[in-house]
């Protein structure tokens, strides 16, 4: 296992029993995956794609039927108890694991003992988490009396009490309103940046993965159909960025000069608009504009069109991957 990888899964297959049936449902089908230390990794897919099952296998909660793998260097078959003790998992709904008979602070005190946090460190760590997650004002509130977003924060606070090096977040913003979801996303960035914790999150919100994740695995029907950085996924799928420039008719020389730029894949003028397809809009836009101006083309408007992760997701699951 490479040193910088905290998780390494090879050819993992998991089949679920179906009640009163000999047939089995294949939830994971020959999944291989590496996750690097310190990254925010996204598992993206529609419902039933296998995201949660994969998280459970990686976090030692579920045993795979086939394949090999290690989490933090521990074998997923032999050392699943050690894995469970050294990773944190936040379930999809905030209420899971939260005791409504305990206040926010008492919940954290309870889990600090269960997670075997040293007595001297407990109060200090709980205070740190309450401040870090901006839950201080609710510390004596009952969980039922605070918002769903704050309950999700409480669930995350619980998982961060022991500062495990890997945190699994299973659909952390599901059922949250836009404001609470944005707060949780900020939190994910913050725990990754400030504590250096590797975050593995599942989501079926594409914008969320795009905003947070350095790398994304797209899952479909138990398989990983694509796994890369968002930029590489775009490139591999040949979903190029696009610039639409409203301008005068460029000369043939001007069009040739643009086409000669190495990253340009298409260049076409129609209806007063020049549409340029290229690999990386951000680093080449200025050069294109410079070429046009150099050939005396008068520009009135520039619009850009980058493919979103949603475009990639749709392309990937409809086309079977890259």
């Amino acid at each position: 296992m490479a040193i910088e990888n905290v998780i390494e899964m090879r050819n993992i297959t998991k089949r679920y029993k179906i009640r009163k049936s000999r047939e089995r449902f294949t939830a994971l089908d020959d999944v291989s995956l590496s996750i690097r230390k310190g990254e925010i990794f996204g598992l993206l897919g529609s419902n039933g794609a296998g995201k949660t099952t994969l998280i459970k296998v990686m976090s030692g909660l579920l045993q795979a039927d086939e394949g090999t793998g290690e989490t933090l260097g521990y074998d997923i078959y032999k050392d699943h108890k050690k894995i469970r003790a050294t990773v944190s998992l936040v379930a999809p709904t905030a209420d899971v694991g939260t005791d409504n008979n305990l206040t926010v602070r008492q919940n954290l005190e309870f889990w600090a003992v269960v997670y075997d946090l040293e007595r001297e460190k407990r109060e200090e760590r709980i205070d740190e988490m309450l401040d870090f997650l901006e839950l201080r004002q609710y510390e004596n509130h009952w969980p039922m009396s605070i918002s769903a977003g704050n309950r999700q924060k409480l669930a995350i606070a619980r998982s961060l009490l022991v500062k495990n090096p890997v945190v699994f977040l299973d659909e952390p913003t599901v059922k949250l309103d836009a404001k609470s979801a944005a707060a949780v996303r900020e939190l994910v960035k913050k725990i990754n940046l400030e504590f250096g914790i590797t975050v593995i999150m599942t989501t079926h919100y594409i914008y969320e993965a795009e905003e947070l994740c350095e790398r994304v695995a797209i899952m479909h029907k138990g398989k990983i159909v694509s796994c890369d950085t968002v930029a590489n996924l775009r490139r591999n799928l040949q979903r190029y960025d696009e610039i639409v420039i409203t301008c005068d008719q460029p000369t043939t020389e001007a069009l040739n000069a643009i086409t000669a730029i190495p990253v340009i894949v298409s260049c076409e003028y129609a209806d007063g608009k020049l549409t340029v397809g290229l690999e990386n809009i951000r680093s080449n836009l200025l050069e294109i504009l410079k070429v046009l101006r150099g050939h005396g083309v008068s520009i009135t408007e520039v619009a850009t069109n980058e493919p979103t992760l949603e475009d990639i997701f749709v392309d990937t699951i409809s086309g079977g991957g890259v």
Binding site: I18, R19, L61, S88, L89
Partner: protein
């Protein structure tokens, strides 16, 4: 050490829940008094008729009945506890979260056991004390304390062990709702064949052997000999009953722990502890 701390933490959770809903405690107390009271009046009605069959226990059917009912209520609460705990945590979606800590599920069950043990001890002791002081239930003046504690603990751990066996069915038989069949069977057999409400002598001889297969029979016999007759380990029946109860306690605990451990492993290899098959 971590396991003990986690266990105590889960027990404290039950205490906090009780503080949150203190009425539950009073309702439990009232229910125990009502049950004991109901059987007290039944035994009052039948005491003259039953006296002849109870010479071995001093002939007092009322005391015989109340002691039987008090200990049976206590044991029944422990018997159904492990399955009930797993069942509740599963449907509250807490079981998988508990499983994500090192000793989660075991500490959870042990903590609930510890709490229920003391909770029931207080309630049933209160029933017994009231019965002795206020309605004339007779307990030996020279109560042999050590045999009493030994019988009580063996009985409780036997029921807990049986409860763990029952809890394993949550995953092995996939009994995820309703009553679990193993503890249900133990409860039914105990009610009919162990002499809680009547002496075993009234059962047809042909089926009395069933009584000897049930731990409750030995526990009830031993506890009554100790509490009603004041007999200790010098009595051969008390000695034998205690030995059998010790065997039941050790055996049921070992089997229960092993079966639940296997059941959890089975769930880990199968669909996990948090999913309905």
């Amino acid at each position: 050490m971590m396991f003990i701390k986690s266990t105590l933490s889960f027990a404290k959770l039950e205490y906090r829940a009780l503080r949150f809903y203190p009425s539950n405690f009073f309702l439990s107390v009232i229910q125990s008094f009502v049950t004991a009271g109901m059987w007290f009046f039944v035994s009052m009605f039948l005491k003259d008729y039953a006296a002849a069959s109870l010479s071995g226990y001093g002939g007092d059917f009322v005391s015989y009945m109340v002691i039987g009912v008090v200990f049976f209520q206590n044991s029944a609460a422990i018997l159904t506890l492990p399955f009930g705990s797993i069942n509740t945590a599963f449907w509250d979606k807490r079981l998988e979260v508990y499983n994500s800590s090192s000793y989660g599920i075991w500490a959870f069950i042990s903590g609930r056991f510890l709490w229920t043990f003391f909770y029931q001890l207080v309630i049933q002791a209160a029933v017994l004390i009231v019965a002795v002081l206020m309605v004339g239930v007779k307990v030996s003046a020279e109560l042999p304390v050590l045999p009493l504690i030994a019988f009580y603990l063996c009985f409780i751990f036997t029921c807990f062990g049986f409860g763990l066996i029952g809890a394993s069915n949550f995953f092995t038989l996939e009994v995820k709702q309703g009553r679990e069949p193993f503890t249900w069977l133990v409860d039914v057999l105990a009610r009919i064949f162990s002499g809680i409400y009547y002496p075993l002598a009234i059962l047809p001889i042909g089926i009395q052997f069933i009584s000897r297969l049930i731990p409750h029979t030995y526990a009830m016999e031993g506890l009554r000999l100790v509490m009603l007759n004041g007999q200790g380990l010098e009595n051969a029946t008390v000695r034998n009953d205690l030995l059998v109860m010790l065997g039941f306690a050790v055996f049921s605990m070992l089997i229960g722990i092993w079966l639940l451990h296997r059941a959890l492993q089975r769930a880990h290899k199968g669909n996990g502890v948090g999913m309905v098959v």
